[in-house]
Assembly symmetry: D2
Homo-oligomer: 308 residues x 4
Amino acid sequence: MQIRTDLAMESRDFAQGISGVTMHSRQMRAIKETLVCIETEEAARALDKARGTYITLVHPKLARCPGEERNEMARAICEALRAMLPPSGDLLVVGLGNRHMTADALGSRVLEDLLVTRHLKELPDESLYGRLRSVCAVAPGVLGVTGMETAEVVQGIVEHVHPAAVIAIDALAARESSRICTTVQITDTGIRPGSGVRNHRAGLTRETLGVPVIAIGVPMVVYAAVIARDALSLLLEDIGIHEEEHTQAIDTLMEKLTLQGMGEMVVTPREVDELVGKVARIIADGLNMAFQPRLSEEEIQLLSHDEP
Amino acid sequence: MQIRTDLAMESRDFAQGISGVTMHSRQMRAIKETLVCIETEEAARALDKARGTYITLVHPKLARCPGEERNEMARAICEALRAMLPPSGDLLVVGLGNRHMTADALGSRVLEDLLVTRHLKELPDESLYGRLRSVCAVAPGVLGVTGMETAEVVQGIVEHVHPAAVIAIDALAARESSRICTTVQITDTGIRPGSGVRNHRAGLTRETLGVPVIAIGVPMVVYAAVIARDALSLLLEDIGIHEEEHTQAIDTLMEKLTLQGMGEMVVTPREVDELVGKVARIIADGLNMAFQPRLSEEEIQLLSHDEP
Amino acid sequence: MQIRTDLAMESRDFAQGISGVTMHSRQMRAIKETLVCIETEEAARALDKARGTYITLVHPKLARCPGEERNEMARAICEALRAMLPPSGDLLVVGLGNRHMTADALGSRVLEDLLVTRHLKELPDESLYGRLRSVCAVAPGVLGVTGMETAEVVQGIVEHVHPAAVIAIDALAARESSRICTTVQITDTGIRPGSGVRNHRAGLTRETLGVPVIAIGVPMVVYAAVIARDALSLLLEDIGIHEEEHTQAIDTLMEKLTLQGMGEMVVTPREVDELVGKVARIIADGLNMAFQPRLSEEEIQLLSHDEP
Amino acid sequence: MQIRTDLAMESRDFAQGISGVTMHSRQMRAIKETLVCIETEEAARALDKARGTYITLVHPKLARCPGEERNEMARAICEALRAMLPPSGDLLVVGLGNRHMTADALGSRVLEDLLVTRHLKELPDESLYGRLRSVCAVAPGVLGVTGMETAEVVQGIVEHVHPAAVIAIDALAARESSRICTTVQITDTGIRPGSGVRNHRAGLTRETLGVPVIAIGVPMVVYAAVIARDALSLLLEDIGIHEEEHTQAIDTLMEKLTLQGMGEMVVTPREVDELVGKVARIIADGLNMAFQPRLSEEEIQLLSHDEP
């Protein structure tokens, strides 16, 4: 049984200090930022994560915090993104996942609040439209609904639209339930095969698309089997039994759980429908600020459907 | 930590055979029916369930079975209901839960396919409308959204509409994840305080409403803490430790999980958005057949928005 | 063919100056406020509107204006409401209409952003919760969906909840398409039979509910027959034909249009799905400010984004 | 002012008999089929429609008819389509329009019930999956939401997926309100610029995509200006005035209506939200039958209710 996490900062043996990995944290008021750089192939293999930079922003009550703290998170996302974005050129935002599955709808929900401008660029209004960076967006749907790999659809679009970079938004699976809707991961490594709530079969990376791919993800679920697994480890530790002694008992148990259909079960907050909307809006705010540095926050608000 | 289940057939000490409880099971093709009668107050206390009849219908692939098996389940629901319904008089269907929370939306989804007829009874068309039993329906919303206890709203309506019985539809919490979207429980005991995905604070019962209350429920979630708890028990058994010896270790662990916010976490199938719609439709079919014995299945289909 | 309008300011013979009616207008930046008082029964009959006060607030681009103008409208709604609200006591907000029909969904959409507090009143937090006025809310659904008159449902609830006033939100039919999503009418006369997009069969008034009823409405449709009728009048005027000479020709024509199914056709902006959400939010902001005078706008924002 | 219709059978001067156009009608129980062939470039110019075949299927109560008549319509769509489909090769279905705008959501709604199979073709189950034709689907969104022309997105996908044909589903604008949700047009001419509820700026045709494009459309709106225009013509005729005499009066009037914002107003049935779902399901049934001739209706039903 694979214990999946899409968060670099949760990677299994992280604490053990692998060479080729650097990590820095800082607290910015209510938000904790962690920067992980995986610098060598060996480190990448050891952590089962691609080489590159991972920035994690954590606010323990992200979807329930006051407006000012929401704006701080949006600005932190903006900062992190700006360092990764190419200085000019069109941007293509890809909202991954299945809009009809609440825990997988983050990608398409972000697009609802994104300021899309590529079709506006001919407009004469110098004061505002003349300062816009060109942004376009697509929610390609999932394999089970379209019959096509997301990568196929995005490749086709990239070849026609020629963006300078792709920004992909995805719902992630985490290892700890406290990560759900509280953590935003931004990475320049793109989307890897096997990641996401629905396990993407193909990746969206610079190798497959030919342009830089920045991925922004938020954990929306923990696989139920992970919860069970972790509860077991905690217990064994508590009652003074070394995990290694009972590896087989645990493996047998996990297999039983899988046979009971637990493999497809996810743990999610009861109110996930509401949380996903709130987090999507924060991310969209961060994207809009990062993409449109020549607009003020007020101008962005006005253009992006003008809702406070 | 309370280990909640809303299913009578899952009640903790069931297997131990309490006096005052009778149980019968039968297999009807793909559906297993279990009839539990709790006949004495002592039995009710022992099981923490109200006195009355509980019929459970289980199809292990309910939301994914072929059309014919769906219809069988609808007919089984119809049969179970008919034995509990008063022979005449208006019926009020109450769709409980929060329509904006997928795992709690079953009640309001059932109403979408229910044949509502109370306002049609003056129509002249003898051949069809003359044979209708009067049915009305309401989805009162949840306390957090309306500021009112569901019981307050339903009482007010009952006093104006004077139904012969109330039929309440609710999403349940179960103990085993295999119950989710596979099991339908029908009981003449109404809705008890503390039941349901959102823990109703007040009940809907004959005592509070003054008319018989039939409750129909389908498990939509298992609380994550339950999964963890059960995994622990299984493990301890496997490694030959008696649970009693480690009650405290387990309790400490469960407390830790609660502190991590696990208490509000639910386990649910990834595709719950899709499943809830399918199960709602089956229940609505069963209700429509039970309520309208003088209509053929085709006539019901035609009236109830005519979708196959 | 009845030429329906739910706006007092559009009433047919308004311009002619009936005694017993007073009207005042004032421009407040982008918003025009019109106050109509129908003071006598004769005037009420002549205008086919109930006696009472009607305040109309018009912003020609309400759903598309900058944030500051939106806030002005919310404050203007708040002002108008405060003059009509009882100084103390619980408030019950009723969201009328059919949530599944976009042009009729205004009422239930407003409830989504309403600050509901009645269930919070026991909370200890003096600084915030101690200053809340008790508000509850219900979206009772429409006759075709529930089988019950809205008035029956609301009466039952009023008898249990004993509010000091009912505030009913409804989508209206107007006479001119320029009114759609630009005009907010607030009246102390309640909801009259025959009004609204779906023609309420029974009213919600002080007479039927026993408490003051304030109605807030926004035109969402114009009946297509009205557009046709008005186009004809304009044309006849233009080509120098007096309308009276051709009353019969017009009547015949309107009948033809009715037979073609035009009677059920409504004229609505293509993007009505988007507009209704924006207008609903403005109204909810206005209600929240009017209901909670002891909270600042920031505190309201915080609470209404923070479901308890 | 342009009087738009997307239906070939409504084209202006149709009755006058242009050479190069053939038309045949037949009644099939409740459904009337009209076949229009525009055979020459002259005829195409005269009618402002592309050369090709247009099949129109009309059931005057399509969204409200009994199940059997619905199935007849699905079979008629299947028949019409089969004659146009290439005998083998992958099929790409494109659901046009804006899913968030009810009257424009037909395309994306059809995809919800479409049997998508392209990703299943490796499955071993000979009895069922071995008989599937490969179908994939995409809802590319609209220019205002994506910043990309639909044609750009579809071209990119076509170049990657290499379908044998594209089938595009779109909501149409008609000239008569009685067409709304009662008429299905199937044509081998593709989607032309300027057609559809939202006026596509670029077309989807064999010329732009390099493969045959079959378009299936259902009128969902009539522009309000058309209703007004037609009412005027009817009236003038009735009162014995020749339209030509008053061309200018009519033109002036139409201009006034446009200035009043009528240009963006559409006429639509009040219950359009409900109707679009029903019509979408009928079309999806017809597509599934046409695409999967080696499956029985029951097998299609089973698969399309059974998301893999």
